[in-house]
């Protein structure tokens, strides 16, 4: 508890420690090794032999009723999707801190937001939180853990490598009462995902669909200067941090610009109504228009939507975004 000065990686590490996480298995490599180093100093880090082993160990900890967290970056997340799917079916919590770095392949360790569709994919995706500042990290990690344990579903903190490396004076008070789950809850003799009888499988799927309807109601979104906005920027993560600065600057030149930032990427908040009153929406992101497609799909076809996307590990430059928007309004 208290204010600590550190990088996003250290803030995440401290938040996990305060949440009572006792074991985090992983494979340290850039850019996530700094988080592993912090956890090792706290006696919480344990080595795994592969990404798949890390995922299996984390699932095992959850089945054993212990709070844990996987840490992944870039394409690592693919190796964890199997465990995420099994956690949905077992109905045990499973949390992931996923660092967005440039892809495809290894790419580079610089920031990117190319995993949005991956994290939101499938019938039962994890709940995905996206902080837009280092200060928000402890709050959203605690929320991620709380939701994962309340609904017994996987949850992800999707943080781009820019925020992971940014420093700040952050109050870390990420405590959260631990839920009872897995074998510690002692309400089930066994955990399985095998339902060879289609009726049983249908029943289980229907029950999960109902649960995900409840989860949909937990979507979070931040409106920034949207009250009188004529133009809206939609962005998340570090892109939203930059978008707010852009909106501030454009307001100085009498352009009524606001920002709509989804805090949860899955479930995704309903933005249709709020966007009806604006003349144009600008989607700012670091990916091949993944957020753009998501936003476009929610809006009335009459609402004009423009895309500003960067790639390769380059952040959206504040002045470039301002010029882009000015050129279209």
């Amino acid at each position: 508890m208290g204010v600590i000065y550190g990088k996003g990686a250290e803030i995440i590490g401290e938040s996990l420690v305060q949440l009572g996480v006792r074991s985090v298995y992983g494979i340290p490599y850039p850019p996530i090794s700094e988080l592993h180093e912090y956890l090792a100093q706290k006696g919480v880090f344990r080595p795994a032999a592969s990404t798949r082993e890390m995922a299996a160990l984390s699932l095992g900890l959850s089945l054993g009723g212990e709070r844990t967290c996987m840490v992944t970056a870039g394409t690592d997340i693919y190796g964890c999707m199997e465990s995420i799917s099994y956690a949905v079916s077992y109905e045990v919590p499973l949390t992931v801190v996923h660092v967005g770095k440039s892809i495809p392949g290894f790419g580079n360790p610089y920031p990117y937001q190319g995993d949005l569709d991956v994290l939101r994919g499938g019938d039962f995706p994890p709940v995905v939180f996206s902080p837009a500042s280092v200060e928000e990290i402890p709050l959203l990690i605690a929320k991620m853990v709380e939701m994962s344990e309340r609904f017994l579903v996987p949850a992800v903190l999707y943080v781009d490598s820019a925020l992971f490396n940014m420093t700040g004076n952050v109050e870390v008070d990420a405590g959260s009462p631990k839920g009872e789950f897995g074998f510690r809850k002692n309400d089930r003799r066994y955990y399985t995902t095998v339902y060879l009888d289609v009726t049983a499988m249908k029943k289980q799927t229907a029950s999960l669909i109902e649960k995900y309807k409840e989860i949909d109601r937990e979507a979070l979104c931040e409106s920034y200067m949207m009250e009188d906005a004529e133009y809206a920027i939609c962005a998340y993560g570090i892109s939203a941090y930059i978008a707010k600065k852009v909106a501030d600057d454009l307001r100085l030149s009498k352009k009524k610009v606001g920002v709509l930032r989804p805090l949860t990427l899955s479930p995704f908040c309903s933005i249709g109504e709020e966007m009806k009153k604006v003349k144009k929406v600008f989607v700012v992101e670091m990916s091949n228009m993944q957020l753009f497609r998501l936003v476009r799909g929610q809006l009335d076809p009459k609402v004009k939507v423009e895309s500003y996307a960067t790639h390769g590990g380059l952040l959206p430059e504040r002045n470039d975004v301002i010029q882009f928007i000015k050129g279209l309004i």
């Binding site: 344990r46 592969s50 798949r52 082993e53 299996a56 699932l59 900890l61 089945l63 955990y191």
Partner: protein
């Protein structure tokens, strides 16, 4: 003169086996091993502390038959899940029950557990093929054995040499007990039972990981009657010595 007859029950249906009918084929070793494991846990009085993690394959729903806590694991992940559960529940007796193809599909989970000296038990039923796939070649299929994916018989030039699982695992320091048993005869089953018991004891005493490979029969996929399948396994074991190796 009336003779007083005293009877003593010396054998019966293991109390820990549920009354659910097993789905295994006639002559399959999984049925034998589910009974052996149930007996051991019962004899050791550990049924309340025991958790079985069953790998993908024919035995992935063995939790239905052994009346202890259980998990049906994702392919290749049973040992990792067992290690995670053990980390969370130090007092539990946690074992992974896996097939030869399942364990070989991701040996990193075994290597990782051995690297950390995780106190778990691994029982690997090696029936020399991928039973649940209808008899595809597994990494442990011996040379010359025909499978659906090596129809002319496995050859070193074609599909490569088989993996010897026990030999592969015993080289790691974290594995403190390693043995290869078999299930092809009642005598072999008795010896295997003793091996599995010792592997559990390694965990209970906190020494390290116990690994027991058990050669098993898969008559359906070997296209042999059960008795001949057992004879075939005995032949295979001439190349793979049984006994405690560590």
């Amino acid at each position: 003169m009336e003779i007083e007859r005293k009877t003593e029950k010396v054998y019966g249906y293991p109390g820990l086996l549920t009354d659910r009918k097993e789905h295994f084929c006639p002559g399959c070793s999984h049925g034998i091993l589910s009974k052996v494991i149930a007996e051991i846990i019962s004899e050791m009085g550990l049924h309340e502390r025991a958790i079985g993690v069953y790998g993908a394959g024919c035995a992935s729903i063995m939790y239905e038959y052994i009346g202890i806590k259980g998990v049906g694991a994702p392919p290749g992940s049973a040992v990792g899940i067992a290690a995670g559960i053990k980390d969370a529940m130090k007092d539990a007796l946690v074992f992974a029950y896996v097939g030869d193809a399942d364990i070989a599909s991701d040996l990193s989970v075994v290597i990782g557990a051995a690297m950390r000296n995780d106190k778990i038990t691994v029982i690997c039923e090696n029936n020399f093929n991928m039973g649940v796939s209808g008899g595809a070649m597994s990494p442990a299929t011996p040379l010359g054995i025909a499978t659906t994916t090596s129809p002319s018989g496995r050859s070193a030039a074609g599909q490569g040499n088989p993996l010897a699982l026990s030999e592969l695992v015993k080289g790691t320091k974290g594995v403190t007990y390693c043995a290869r048993g078999s299930s092809h005869s009642p005598g072999a089953v008795r010896k295997t039972k003793a091996m599995i018991k010792k592997a559990f004891m390694e965990q209970i005493f906190g020494n390290g990981m116990g690994f027991v490979e058990v050669a098993g029969m898969c008559p359906t996929n070997l296209n042999l009657p059960p008795v001949e399948a057992a004879t075939k396994v005995k032949e295979i074991l001439e190349e793979l010595p049984t006994g405690e190796t560590k």
